[in-house]
């Protein structure tokens, strides 16, 4: 019996060790270009920037894109001499896609690593969870968490330290709804929403509100959960309605399945997605036939020369194509660096927060924008509406909830 217990303990320890091996290093420290023989006291103190990302969980691909964009930007800045003569250091902690892990990681990076500002994840559930923690820690977080509750405490009052570096979920949902109603002439819609994902819900509610405000009708509201992979029951229900379009806001793992299963069921409606369609909707493993008649909003126009140049540089550096989160991630770190630069020698959380609150225009890949002090979200950024033709994305036009941008 003793031997048996030892065997069981051995197997469990093996599993734990392998589990540990599977995780990425909890801290990825950006190497500095300075040589070690430079005496520490002569060198200005490095500026530490926290990077709170899902490095090994279900959203690792999207979070990883943010990290790569941030690392590339910091490499460039350090190579050019840093900011005000000080080098930058990116300290990455892994949330593993888990809310509790994210809170612990944020606390660790602020308390132990002494970071003054944090680059946040593209995951709204985590954004909502860390918003009150950022108040306690008094550290500014600039991220890509799109659901309104991540940045807005209550109408008219933002969370003091939470800042969004791309369009919010509500603006995204309203923009694609406005496009569908005004440009595609659609009036009857169905929705398929992950009710466990605040981002998905945060897109769907404004979408439905704008449709109804424009005289449209939501004829079916279907739901799913994180673990669902078979959407045929919901899609069959939708097929039984007179819906002309299906809005299916979600994360990349679900999107190709919904597209493929809708196609297999012969659901012949306009498919309206969100900005996560981009990295998956035309992925090599998605049948191009299943993505026909699909429209989705995106943060950038990838055919714009400045954007495509940056994309080429990114691809050359990392040997992988940029995702939507790469572009917005570059803007997020750019906003942080602009605030740090404005602080001069006083690179503290308090100063960076103040500079973010009073930030002027920022010129990024998504366009030129400022942050609204009442929402901490970008002001006036339009959404690029794309469709998919023969499996490839095609830019159509810039759009806002109020209509097309000329």
């Amino acid at each position: 019996m003793k031997k048996l217990s030892i065997l069981i303990i051995f197997v469990m320890i093996s599993a734990l060790l392998l589990s540990a091996c599977a995780e990425k290093e909890p801290e990825v420290v950006q190497e500095e270009t300075e040589t070690e023989d430079v005496v520490a006291e002569k060198e200005p103190e490095v500026i530490k920037i926290g990077n709170l990302q899902d490095e090994s969980g279900p959203m690792a691909a999207l979070s990883g894109a943010v990290t790569l964009a941030a690392e590339m930007r910091i490499e460039e800045v350090n190579a050019a001499g840093g900011i005000n003569g000080r080098m930058l250091e990116l300290i990455t902690h892994d949330t593993r896609g888990d809310v509790n892990e994210a809170i612990n990681a944020l606390t660790r990076m602020v308390v132990q690593d002494d970071v003054q500002v944090v680059l946040g994840p593209p995951v709204s559930n985590i954004g909502i969870a860390i918003a009150p923690i950022s108040e306690e820690l008094q550290v500014p977080i600039v991220g890509l968490f799109m659901e309104d509750r991540c940045t807005i405490r209550e109408p008219g009052t933002p969370w003091s330290y939470m800042f969004l570096a791309q369009n919010s979920a509500s603006r995204q949902g309203e923009s694609i709804a406005a496009y569908a109603v005004q440009e595609l002439g659609l009036t009857k819609f169905a929705t398929l929403v992950n009710t466990a994902n605040s981002y998905s819900v945060g897109l769907a509610e404004p979408f439905k509100a704008l449709v109804r405000a424009n005289g449209g009708e939501v004829v079916a509201e279907e739901t799913y959960n994180w673990e669902d992979k078979d959407f045929r029951a919901q899609l069959t229900n939708i097929k039984g309605t007179d819906a002309e379009a299906l809005f299916f806001p979600g994360y990349p793992p679900e999107i190709p399945l919904i597209l493929a299963q809708a196609y297999e069921l012969g659901l012949d409606v306009v498919m309206l997605g969100n900005n996560s369609v981009a990295p998956t909707g035309f992925a090599p493993t998605t049948d191009p036939a299943a993505t026909a008649n699909t429209f989705y909003p995106y943060g950038i126009d990838s055919s714009d020369p400045s954007v495509s140049d940056w994309a080429a540089k990114y691809e050359a550096r990392w040997e992988t194509k940029p995702l939507a989160q790469s572009f917005s991630g570059d803007d997020a770190i750019g906003i942080i660096l602009q605030a740090i630069e404005a602080c001069g020698d006083d690179v503290t959380s308090a100063c960076i927060t103040e500079k973010l609150n009073t930030m002027g225009e920022f010129e990024g890949l998504q366009g030129t924008f400022a942050l609204d002090p009442t929402t901490h979200q970008p002001i006036g950024l339009p959404m690029a509406i794309f469709t998919i033709t023969d499996g490839a994305p095609v830019f159509l036009e810039w759009y806002t909830p109020d209509g097309p941008v000329n």
Binding site: P58, T195, A233, K239, P253, T285
Partner: protein
Amino acid sequence: MDLIEIFQQVINGLSRGAIYALIAVGFAIIVNVLKFSNFAHGGVLGISAYAGYLASSQFNLSFIPVVLIGMVTGAIVAVLVEFIAFRWIRMQKGQLVYFFVTSVTMLMLLEQILVIRFGSFFDTYPYDLIKVKFINIGELSISVTYLISLAVTIVAFGLLIYVFKKTKIGIAIRAASNDMTTTSLMGINTGMVIIAAFVVSGMMGGISGVLFGISTSLSPQIGQVVVKGFIASVLGGLGSLTGVAVAAVALGLIEVFLVSTIGSGYSPVVIFALMIAFLLLRPQGFAGVSFTDKA
């Protein structure tokens, strides 16, 4: 819900249930022989699903070779699991709870191996592995992926029944599942019988992994679908693989109808409530004997 829609949902439910049946039967074989719930079967399913994925995406193999590779991988991994995790406990005549705990640990271990190799994001089989995606019969649309799954399930189940009824090793497995000690006293090598049971179980896990992966997507946690096999084996009852298969198909149908009527949020709650109620009324399952030995 009109008649066409009901038919479409029945097809959806049968298709889902067919894959559940493959998972459940593979799961139930070990439950029958060794009297414990082998959650490592989910790990076998996951490794096989990824083996099929590599065969199709890296080597451009077609559907049938991919399924065969999944089957063979499943058999090999299942036997390895038996050697590494269960054999010693069995030789020490360990309690059932040790088998149960070790099987859960092996599921975690196999999942982590997949995380190390493939990362934690999702993958999908090449979309052109099955050329024709659906066929229309009147207003009904039937997914070819699921139709193939249904056909493969029927063939695999037919072969399984043949092996269990007509071959010596199948009869030996059935005898061992009834009473291991007596089977041993009759001169049957029970060690070989157990390996054979893991081979058959692993092959079923391999097929179900590949088919589930093709019809949905792949992630290292794909093996957690083994819970469906657990539910079906409890509902179906010990001693009857047919009962387990029927329970699995019923589970698929019930899930689809619950999702289409009350939504996906309440569906799992109702499923587990039904399971508890069913066990209170008929603890031996649809067609089995007592489940009290089950760990």
